[in-house]
Amino acid sequence: MSAAGEPLLRVENLHVEFPTEDGVVKAVDGIDYEVGRGCTLGIVGESGSGKTVGAMTILGLTRAQGAKITGRILFEGRDLLGLPDPELQKIRGNEIAMVFQDPSSSLHPLYRVGAQIVEAVRAHQDVSKAQARERTIELLGLVGIPDPGRRVDDYPHEFSGGMRQRAMIAMALANEPKLLIADEPTTALDVTVQAQILALLERLRVQLGMAIVIVTHDMGVVAEMADEIAVMYAGRIVEIAATEALLSSPEHPYSWGLLRSIPTLAGPRVEQLAPIPGSPPSLIEPPTGCHFHPRCPYVQPEHTRIDPGLEPVKGEPSHRVACLLAAGERRRIWEGLR
Amino acid sequence: MISRLRMSASAGLAGVLMLGLAACGSSSTSVSGGSGIKVASGIQTPLTQARSGGKRGGTLTVLDHADFEHLDPGQAYFNLDYELTSATQRPLYSYKPNTFAAPSPDMASEPAQISADGKTITIHIRHGVRFSPPVNREVTSADVAYAIERGKNPNVNNPYFESYFSSLAGAGKATGGPFPGITTPDKYTIVLHLTEPRAQIVLDALVLPLSAPVPKEFASKFDAKKPTEYGNYLVATGPYMLKSDGAGKVLGVGYQQGKSATLVRNPNWNASTDSRPAYLDQINVQIGGDTTVIGRQVLEGSGMVQNDTPAQSIVKLAYEKFRTQLEISPGAGDHYIAVDNKQGPFSNVNVRKALWAALDREAMDKARGGELVTNVMTHFIYPEIPGFEAAGGLKGPQADYNAYPQGNPTLAAKYMKLAGYASGKYTGSKTLQVVGSTGSPSAEDAEIVNQTLKNLGFKTRFNLVDSSVMYSKYCGVPAEAIDVCPSVGWGADFGDPQAVLDVPFNGKNIIPSGNNNWGLVNDPEINKAMDAAESVLGTQARATAWAAIDRKLVAQAAAIPFDWDKQPNIEASNVAGVGDLWDTGEWDYSYTSLK
């Protein structure tokens, strides 16, 4: 699954907290993961689970919001958290690039699409405007914008939603990053376009050999793309495993809920969706014990007191889960649910 | 914030000089003027100030919050306008800076000859006086005749012609052309023929700028415009002229409306024909600005005077720290309360006396700045006007209601009882219409009057409006039947008691609009006495005759007087300003010099 040696990205015990007037929001509450070169990690969770904050923190984008950040984010062995802003800027958009959720608000409405990509190129490459423009047209072609030589001078509002996201991807690819972080890259798009964008990302990964961290609430998205999946809940990773393992034998009741909400081609879509009852917990005062216990159908009295750690599943060292239910019990319930 | 402290003759009507001043606690260690008026020591007055500072030449900067009204000598009728006309125009007669009683020959070469019947005035004019460019030629009697005649031109509309010159034969039907009342037997003689023996008032009025010569060949094309544009194309006879272009145009050259006026020497002026010393080379008038800023600039600066009334705070500052730069001019007009003599409660003389007795005149004057700039008014001919002493001087005629400058409620009650109100308070049903003027200190004074009326038992409808509105829509319109006008005042056109008393108190002068007999005073006996006094000749005789009328007005309490004004003016320390007593102490540019 990954190349030998040091992984491309290693996140260690990452905490991100935002001081607010109501109290400290523990958006990310101690997460660890690795991404190997050319590999794809899917991070899945509901909104408010900390998955986006965690992803943005890799690029230091939460710094401007006054976040308190601890832990380590090692990119090719360098701790990004310790880097001063100017150093981090050299990495942003260059070695690590990011694609955001809503392409219509993520492009600057007052600048031409091409100019925005040119700016990304020239931020890291010492090339002339003309060269950067050529590169931009090439990139637009690469992401499947028809007639890129003409569309390069369009404004964002002249693009469709899907084209905007392609443009965002083109911008992210401008400097051939080693890692692409895609935060809900398809959520704002309609279904057919979603599939095209995912296919594009997958094609580019293979073509350019970059690693991808794809952040989504939709297990269906990562099921197709990711090599490994991390499930986040209330600022923590509650389960992490290779994609096949997680899809076939998920260990956490929350993962079960997510999996059951994947639409499949068989059967009417609406019936298939089984959302998890309840709402995400407060990140200022999270529930005691297992943070998931208020929504867990299998909760036991002691689960409200004991906070489970992320433990390897027996016989599967790369499959780890944070659940207090006994292994056999979990397997039995999942079998029943499937 | 921006108040016009001195209303213009036209905007305020009737030479109503709103002399606004605040309390300046004056401890007057008296230096006495000619009228016994006290002015605090160390302060100049037009009566006492040196007439020369010594230096010849230089430029005087004149700061002036208010704009001029009219530059045309046929239209000028405002004390600020007179500063320009005095320096640029030569009427037949004019006052020297220190007198308000005896005019001297100016364009005229000698005193006028009045025929025994008082109906013919013969005046000789000087030889060798020339108009400024572009006219350049010598002035003749025809130019004086044209100047007066054009006063009747509807496009000129001289504001005082009717009052003073209507007795000229044929003036009634004149429309600007020659009429029989003015003849010019030779180039240097002009004869005025009157239908009635009114020679004295006509002669008095010849100090006004209407009598300054106007060259017909130059002015008539402008006088044909409706209204005349001669004021925009002036020629001068005095030592100075408004800067003009080759065609004589001053508008936009020597005068920029609301902005500036520039006086330069008149190259055709011949000093040997004139008593004006004309020390200065140039006078730059800068119009606009904040009065407190202007005042400080003048007091702390050099080569400057302020034209209009300084701000209250500036007078105080000048009095305390720049006393030698302060000039106080007595005889600058008066303020009184006009009450409706014709109808309503004040048609009863005892009610009028009750208000006079009740009024705290000292409090009223304190709102205006106290003794530094006011005196308690006790009768109607004001200081420096002939007849002032004969009418009672500062103390005023003996009358119990005139004896209490701080007011006497008991005495007031006595007069209310005499008027038929047994309780000593008004018990009728009428609500009095009281219309005063906004702005300090008029508003404060009006408030005191309103309170006094209430204390007398009256109910009032009390309104304050802009002073021009007060005159043009309320107090000057008899049909409005305003009972009490607490903010009116009068400044005479020249030093003659008729000019003080006739228009505001003679019943024949009541007109349906633009009326200046605000109290509708129409006492047959007083009217008769005034008509007779109009014909009296000689300063002394006129003073006696009009002083007697003044005493009658007091006896009838025709109006309730409260303030005789003294006008403050300021100059920079290196300016030897000379003020014109007859023009509320305004600086006379043709006498003022730099030190």
């Binding site: 409405p109 911008m171 | 504001p159």
Partner: protein, 320 residues
């Protein structure tokens, strides 16, 4: 676009006609002095007043007066003549306009130069000490009456009456063409005073607008590209935050052109505002009408300019 602009101009002309009519009517309803009487002066007889009234055309029916006036203004661009000096109103306005333009445009440069940077810094350092201090100071300047501020400035810094004699004081204004340096130095204090309140307002506007903009997703994108924070703020944040301010700026300048009377008075600058104010106190209707019309014209033109500017500033805006 062109058709839209033409339509806007036509509407503007209609608006000007409406404003003219309104001023015309208001001036005659409100209890101001009677111009004929004011002009006639002291003891004028009713005949004299009637003659003046006739000369000034005030004896014609209101509608006839209005019709004559409108015809002159809109067909011949003739604003009439001052009741007082008979000077053509157009000439008076032309004479006063340079001073007001100098004052207002200069002040607007000052307030932008001060207000925008302060607003930007405040927006980027929200809730820090420097933000609180600058916004607090702004509040003081916003609430300080400019007339009072002008007096204080003169008493402190004027070369003639100030404590520290630095700047030329009141009444020192000269035209740009007669001496550029004197023009500049005489306007420094007025600029600062007139700009003070607006600088504060614009600082607050900029702070608000930029704070909002900096929350936008495209700012995050710009950061993610690896741009320097300076470039993120200036090129992406400020560029977008400035748009709403342009609208306000144009209208503020247009409004001030007709109403800088307080600063014009305190510094004795012969401008349009003072011309208008003096005319009102004199009931000099043609000047009042002319200056009001000019003020309305400024506003109409500013509105059209804003619309045009918007089309250039924001590619999403298209007029049809």
């Amino acid at each position: 676009m062109t058709r839209y602009i033409i339509r806007r101009i036509l509407w503007g002309v209609l608006l000007l006609i409406a404003v003219t009519a309104l001023t015309f009517v208001l001036f005659r309803i409100l209890p101001t002095g009677d111009p004929a009487r004011l002009r006639a002066g002291r003891v004028a007889s009713p005949q004299v007043v009637a003659a003046i009234r006739h000369d000034l055309g005030l004896d014609k029916s209101l509608f006839a007066q209005f019709w004559i006036y409108m015809k002159e203004v809109f067909l011949h661009f003739n604003l009439g003549f001052s009741y007082y000096s008979s000077a053509p109103v157009r000439g008076l306005i032309a004479n006063r306009l340079p001073a007001t333009l100098s004052l207002v445009l200069g002040a607007s440069i000052v307030w932008l130069a001060v207000g925008l940077p302060v607003g930007i810094v405040s927006a980027l350092r929200r809730r820090t000490l420097s933000d609180r201090v600058s916004m607090g100071t702004a509040l003081v300047f916003v609430s300080a009456p400019e007339y009072w501020l002008g007096l204080i400035a003169l008493y402190l810094f004027a070369a003639d009456i100030g404590k520290v004699k630095v700047f030329p004081g009141a009444g020192s204004y000269v035209g740009l063409t007669s001496s550029p340096w004197k023009w500049f130095s005489s306007l420094l204090l007025p600029w600062l005073v007139l700009a003070a309140g607006s600088a504060a307002i614009y600082a607050r506007l900029m702070r608000g607008s930029l704070s909002e903009t900096m929350e936008e997703d495209y700012i995050r994108t710009a950061r993610a590209k690896g741009l320097s924070e300076r470039r993120v703020v200036m090129r992406h944040g400020v560029r977008a935050a400035i748009n709403p301010i342009v609208t306000i700026l144009a209208l503020d300048i247009a409004t001030l052109l007709g109403s800088a009377v307080l600063v014009e008075t305190v510094f004795d600058i012969p401008g349009i505002g003072r011309l208008n104010y003096d005319a009102i106190t004199h009931s000099d209707f043609p000047i009042v009408q002319g200056t009001v019309l000019l003020g309305a014209l400024f506003i109409v033109v500013a509105n059209i300019l804003v619309d045009i500017a918007y089309a250039y500033l924001d590619p999403r805006v298209r007029y049809s």
